[in-house]
Amino acid sequence: MYAYSEFDRAFVRDRVEQFREQLDRRLSGALTEDEFKPLRLMNGVYLQLHAYMLRVAIPYGTLSSDQMRMLAYIADRWDRGYGHFTTRQNIQFNWPRLIDTADILSALADVDMHAIQTSGNTIRNVTTDQFAGAALDEIADPRPYAELIRQWSTDHPEFQFLPRKFKIAITGSADDRAVIRAHDIGLQLIDHQGKHAFRVFVGGGLGRTPVIGQELHPALPEGDLLPYLEAILSVYNMAGRRDNKYKARIKITVAAMGVEAFRTKVESVFPSIKAGFNNQVMTMLDGLRHQFSPPEYDEKSREPYLELLDTDIDFKIWIERNVSPHKHPSYASVSISLKGHGETPGDATSEQMRAMADVAQTFGHDELRVSHEQNVVLPHVAQGDLPEIFRRLQKAKLAVANIGLLSDIIACPGMDYCALATARSIPVAQEIALRYASREAEIGFMKIKISGCINACGHHHVGHIGILGLDKAGVENYQITLGGSAGGGAVDAAIGVKMGRGFSAEELMPALDRLIDAYLLLRADVTETFAELVVRMGTQPFKEALFVVDKRD
């Protein structure tokens, strides 16, 4: 893992003390709310429906066990004993008091963490594959690049007041687990003529205008990564609209200009920017790479694992669903589901955080990851330790075997917490998970994603089934989209198609029943997933199923 330098540490400490002074001035009345709001947001402090919310950055989703324990401590001491892991691989606390926020940031700084650039029109936390550095199918670990981008983008003076927020994701595998095509910039590491290079996608995004990113560069040499990103950002910074926040994301700039014209502009500024970097990128990368070297693998016997696999059906099912192949033959990566049936997607209690930290410290080379799907991953565990890991996770109610199944739902906080929401998401996710708990194995691979407003934090546009909660004349109403895909696997990234009118909360579950029944009836065989079937047959049969009872449409 990347270890903070003295520079990083001093920088974060300075920011905490700066914020503490700003907070004191707010509390004394020296600063008005209008003056203070941008300052607190720069440090991740939002005001939500019932309370403040603190969003803490987890760079590319990587945590040590000490850091996870600190999150548990913060949850207990200053919040309500839990935290909410987000699609940006971050964590949010839903109940901090304003007066405690400087102390919380100070506690985070103790473990080299902060909340910088978790808000505002800046470059946000760079996200990546939760299996980075472990995945069998990756070309190289994407995290050194993610760390390079973090260092470059943190407090970058030119990019603190962009037209709008800016999100970058990077994958080291062709099988994209980081939704790169739905990002302002998506980077896919490739092998190009024996060297590492990037396919660069630009102008993707969800929200009220969902767009799949377009290819800007087919094979950018890794040494050109930062100057090329800076070229894109500088073009966007000048050309992006600032008159209308709904038209201010780079996807609108690229769409208005056309990707060819956008590329021409980027290429025209690129040489001078590159010259300014003075070929330092490769030196920086080399310096970072050794900080992400693989763990010292324990050559443990696989026997205990193979034995339990034969005798314990629950263990076998958990292995099949929650455990992924590792580049080391006797290792594996474990996905810890934060999607217990009827629980809030992405939430973990402080007790569960400590349990995960303990398992990571004892069996997982001290590393944890947060996935954009709101689960936690142990990237490096010896297969021989899997039985004991399973037992400990079971004890902490963290061994739910549902990764990739219907109940492994992404859901935004919705109107239970969020000031922007137009309807609730969490109760919908809870009800769906409980409703299909006994059938989800039969239904198979399925991604349901739920947003409580058009801003699409719940990624509903790229859900196989997307659900968008809206306010229809003062009543919560849920619109279904089908055919979306986050990319990776067998189905390319795609934006889902709206299926007619929305459903009331009461109508929604029977409508989903009809949808699922139609899928089970129409699929060629059990290996054809819902997403594949929608690609093969289109959405029409499902639209008919959704509205069969209701003749109003």
């Binding site: 429906l49 304003l98 969490i426």
Partner: protein
């Protein structure tokens, strides 16, 4: 405030805790809707809002529509929109927020 229909109350979030608060007849901010001042015209409420908006102990005061139910003992003030009902009650996934302190669990 276009299209706002009286009766209305004035609501905001407390600066220190972020908790939802309502303006009382004594111009103090209280955490309970039942003790709020109900304004029978939006104009009246807007005049008061203009005064309280410059106070620094709360954030983002605004008017919200309510219904006053006179047929329940002691009368009761009820938010018109579900968003305000959630603000009055707390989240639906945990028994946190105002509902914790109100004695009875409110079932949606």
């Amino acid at each position: 405030m276009a299209g706002l229909k009286a009766p209305v109350v004035i609501t905001a979030n407390d600066l220190l805790s972020g908790e939802v608060v309502y303006l009382s007849p004594l111009h103090t901010w209280l955490p309970t809707l039942v003790t709020s001042q109900v304004y029978q015209t939006a104009e009246q409420a807007e005049a008061v809002l203009a005064q309280v908006a410059i106070e620094s102990e709360v954030i983002g005061p605004y008017l919200m529509e309510v219904a006053v139910l006179n047929d329940v003992p002691g009368a009761s003030i009820v938010p018109k929109h579900y968003r305000e009902e959630f603000r009055r009650r707390g989240p639906s996934n945990y028994f946190h927020g105002k509902q914790e302190h109100s004695g009875n669990k409110v079932v949606s």
